[in-house]
Symmetry: C2
Subunit: 455 residues, 2 copies
Amino acid sequence: MTKEVLDYIETHRDSLLARLNDFLTIPSVSTDSSYKDDLQKAAQFVEDYLQEIGFDQTEQLPTNNHPIVYAEYNQAGPDAPTVLFYGHYDVQPVDPIEQWESEPFTPEVRNGRIYARGASDDKGQVFMHLAVFEAFMKTKGALPINVKVCIEGEEEIGSENLYDVLQEKKEKFAADFVVISDSGMVAQNQPTILYGLKGFTGIEITVDGPEQDLHSGLYGGAVRNPVMALSHILSTMKNIDEEITVEGFYDDVEPMTEEERALIAKVKGEDYTKTTGVTETVSEKGYDAKEHTMARPTFEINGMYGGYQGEGTKTIIPATATAKITCRLVPGQDPEHIQQLLVDHIERVTSTGVQVAVKKEKLSSKAYMVEPDHPLIQKAAACYERAFEKETVFVRMGGSIPVVEWLDAIYGVPIILLGFGTPEDRLHSPNESFPLDSFDQGMKTLVYYYDEVSK
Amino acid sequence: MTKEVLDYIETHRDSLLARLNDFLTIPSVSTDSSYKDDLQKAAQFVEDYLQEIGFDQTEQLPTNNHPIVYAEYNQAGPDAPTVLFYGHYDVQPVDPIEQWESEPFTPEVRNGRIYARGASDDKGQVFMHLAVFEAFMKTKGALPINVKVCIEGEEEIGSENLYDVLQEKKEKFAADFVVISDSGMVAQNQPTILYGLKGFTGIEITVDGPEQDLHSGLYGGAVRNPVMALSHILSTMKNIDEEITVEGFYDDVEPMTEEERALIAKVKGEDYTKTTGVTETVSEKGYDAKEHTMARPTFEINGMYGGYQGEGTKTIIPATATAKITCRLVPGQDPEHIQQLLVDHIERVTSTGVQVAVKKEKLSSKAYMVEPDHPLIQKAAACYERAFEKETVFVRMGGSIPVVEWLDAIYGVPIILLGFGTPEDRLHSPNESFPLDSFDQGMKTLVYYYDEVSK
């Protein structure tokens, strides 16, 4: 029944890869406003493709920043279920650019992987769904179920405008369930169902001292050094046992059950020292790295800077210092409450002689979990096994997809996370890539799945 | 006896200022190798001027980096004393450039001050000596004493090559005493004799974690964050009482005497909150800001950076973090020993999961002090008073001039520090400037002094 569809994908593999290539060539970096036109180009690429596939209706919903591509296919009829497929066409910045082995926006295939920014997160995985829709239309002249498509351009900047759009157009996006491919498998070719995601929040701390940089010889001993003051603040927020020492931070955390620890223990974890090059892994006291990354909250400094960074020495007391911080949250934790705890803590520990300002990350999200034994989840697990010919494992992951929490809050329908990425993909890092195995078996999985859920 | 000399300076003030302008227009930033040609231009400017004045011999001594301008005037004869005049033609970087009210290398006179990088440190003060030499030659046809001139181009990068040159050419630079104008007065038009300088040393700490930046959602909880690790290290090196908490750091410090505290108490200190804009001053527990800046050692983070600094948020665990640190030392402390104490401390407190590397600042210097009642010092004090018509105060300062320690070590002759800068000069900061009062009364002071020391 799905054979011709699978054959189509196999025979058209080269042209599909060429088209993915065009998508990956667009530098749609949403964190940097100077790329605005390229975001527009990427949105146009997606809409054109959906139109060509034969969706009944396609459009770009304008926002204050980057448009949301929306499309509808209703020919499966009123009795058929409707799926909402979500993804994003924007990508992370590429710096440090000098660490890329090939140009981030000139895709290159090396030893079974496509190297390019966005190859895995999320252009590559979005493209697989579009290609599968194309295959169904070309071979069956129809899609097995009704489909709504929502591809946004602001995922990497916290989906700034999506929530409002979803609220305004509640009916437009309504569906029986949601499918998202913006995550990974625990190992290449290891079918993985992701049944839990972490929440997300963040702050930016700025410590201001003197009005301008000062000569360290003339003023050292008279004024507080903002970089040292910021270091003192940060050092009180997480200790060397990797415990977050912000008062109240863990209060609402739902403790891990023994069942869950057993479930996690079953998963063959990533060899972090091999994939990251660290001398040894570190994790919260009382939890191993697998448990901490999957099921415990985190606090990370994403960037810090103050004073002179150039060649040689500059003997100054810097005027200001800044730190960008984000936290990953687990079920039970409220993002806004956590932000307030961070602010209160910082105000408590800031030393005299400097002024501290804390900017709260506007877009935050709660953690999300779905029951592993839900029929739509079980069908997904089965389709994975058919395509990859390997038993599916069930995991929670440390990543955050704000839209998942919002869709859950607004519609309360099941959200099925079909990830095909791998631990070696280097998301958000130089030399991001995506395995061709995932590309091929992943599309197979999707063909099976869209067919299965129509029954 | 000195009247015509003073008259010459007064009547030629405009042309002298115009020529200083040319000097300040050269962007001779020694910390950045891309300015190498401009350093050469500045050296040429100084040599051309010395030649034109009528020195018997002028030359540029090559080094591995920027040349040292040397000149000799011997016509005062074998019985007259010989002074070595030292200064530097290089300047600090200008960043943050956007904070300058006028172009750093387009000098501008506003409300009685010349605004330009190097106006006070040290081009402006070097120029005053050259102008005074010119005035003597044009009016008397001779200088009152024999003069050797040493103007280097690497003071702002720790005088990297000067020490070796002084060692090699010990005889060439030999003199009965040394005069340097690379410091300031405690207040504008307040004659100040600087009888003590701090020593200097520094290190650069680099903390390496993962091979590349990592996704904070997928790896948070598994690897150590290098920026947090560095914050932990730094926070153990100085506490919020501004006490340096590196084991052994204070062991060799010569304690302040009650006499000295009384001497410092007599000095009308700088109003730091007014000049720097800080909410309040901070200083080492048990010492006020004046005492700490003048006579206690300091530890300052000059710059720190790691991870994302761009617009918006980037959810990464940075691969690496760096901090640039310099210390100002007092009599008793050995720079190399202090560096080793810093390295030992860092190795003791570095947490697991990261690798730390410490680079030692090559050029360090001991602190320097001269007896306030030395005749050459007393003569200087008297000349200040004649020129500025105000009683001279005696102070120590937190700045470091490595060459002072070296000249002291090599020749053991008195080093007279005739500074004309003011606390409002913003050395090493945006909008550096130098008062025209200091320019005028300073040259007067130098005319008196070069005449006095010939008697």
